[in-house]
Amino acid sequence: MAPIRLSKSVFGTLRVKPNHTLPIRQRCLYHSYEHDQPPPFPEAESSILSAAMRHVPDHGFTNAALKFGARDAGYLDVSTNLLPRGVFDLINYHLVTQRLALKDSVQFPTEGQVEGKAMGVGAKVRALTLARLRANGPIIHRWQEALAIMAQPTYAPASVAELARLADEIWFLAADTSVDSSWYTKRASLSALYAASDVFMTQDTSKDFIETEQFFDARLKDVSRMGSFMGAVGEWVGYTGHSAVNVLRSKGVRI
């Protein structure tokens, strides 16, 4: 009973506080998504890289594309030295801009306005992930090159970090509110799913990448089956462990 009374008294003191403290409280509630974020790349880099992206379908993720981009943006060949990681900066630009574009390109109907039930978190995640995969469509014939560069030991940590940010962005946009350990497992499993589908898509010749969609759905099913299996295993391990400890305690072992 004591903690409840305590919390009541705390709330009570909050409530009797005069009104002028309210703006201070509101100022403390900062949500980054309610504010405009600074652009992810400086202006000069951004102009070279966005111009270079237009040359990727023809020239791939190469220095040639970067040099053409620099020329188009009014710079010189030598100006590509502005990008310390060279071609990887071009790939990174694609990854970051496509991740940030996700929040504008995929719109969900707001709850209450649609007939029937609102989209679940799972359906939203599926829609967002497929939208992100489709964003690679125009350059998919060059994407294997990019994956090879991303897998180089120098760039692998940055690539994995970007994949984690993408998974986080998707779960956030899907309005996932989990605050337990599933926060991690959700992001980890989505990262794995996305990476697998991304590689599958580079060899997908079906119309509108319908096979990639099927592949993704099948993996999604695997994950949910795997998830319930892992849950059961965890429960069993926990129960057995507790029992073993208790048996030992009953024998007088001090644990």
Binding site: A44, G74, Y75, L76, D77, V78, S79, L82, P84
Partner: protein, 235 residues
């Protein structure tokens, strides 16, 4: 002498420096034929170390037979050494290589906005007015042109720094005395390295001159013994 003092590592640095700048305009992947090759100015490059590497890279990697390097040095003896060494390269009597005697703080013979790439390798440390030299670099570079500087810098790891300090203050003057018979010059060398600004300070000097710096602004070589600083003139 340089090989003895740096255990040969200065060659690796120079190769890396040139490879990263990737000089030369590949005729196979460039559409407009209006401009051929880069116009490179190598300051304090009397002996031609950087210049020959630039031309080799442009010719063999980028199939570019037009890129031109102007080597400038304040010291005529160094230029004479460079001219002598140039005779062993294919560029000695070609219009692609030029030697001029010039002070980096006052490059009056070089017109404004005429240079693609301005390099200075292990030279800027000895300039009296570094800011003036950087401003002069900004003037001669075309918009979009690159200022690239390789220079001794500050070691990041304190343990490695202790070893490196021991080497530079004890061994290098001794090597100078034994091999070149000139202890004082090499004592000056290590002291000038010690006095040169740190990576961040020098990066800010480049920024203050109006350059855009890529990423963090520098790249450490061998734990920070040397560092490559770059700046791009905004277009």
């Amino acid at each position: 002498m340089n090989d003895l003092m740096s255990l040969g590592i200065h060659r690796l640095w120079k190769d890396h420096f040139v490879r990263n700048l990737n000089p030369g305009r590949n005729p196979l992947t460039s559409s407009s034929s209006s401009e051929k090759g880069w116009n490179i100015l190598d300051i304090a490059g009397g002996t031609g170390d950087i210049a020959f590497r630039m031309l080799d890279h442009a010719s063999t990697i980028n199939n570019d037979a037009h890129t031109k390097v102007t080597v400038a040095d304040i010291n005529p003896d160094m230029l004479a050494e460079g001219r002598k060494r140039a005779l062993e390269t294919p560029y000695a009597r070609s219009p692609r290589l030029d030697f001029i005697e010039a002070n980096a703080e006052k490059l009056d013979m070089i017109p404004d906005a005429s240079i693609d790439l301005y390099t200075v390798a292990f030279g800027i440390r000895n300039f009296t007015h570094k800011e003036a030299a950087i401003r002069e670099a900004y003037r001669v570079l075309k918009p979009g042109g690159v200022f690239a500087c390789m220079e001794f810098s500050k070691v990041n790891n304190s343990l490695f720094d202790a070893v490196y300090k021991r080497w530079s203050f004890s061994a290098i003057p001794l090597i100078g005395q034994v091999v070149a018979g000139d202890r004082d010059s090499y004592q000056y060398l290590v002291e000038s390295i010690e006095r040169f600004p740190s990576q961040t300070e020098f990066r800010d000097m480049i920024k203050d001159a109006g350059f855009l710096v890529p990423g963090q602004g520098w790249e450490d070589l061998t734990g920070g013994i040397a560092a490559i600083h770059k700046g791009v003139k905004p277009a």
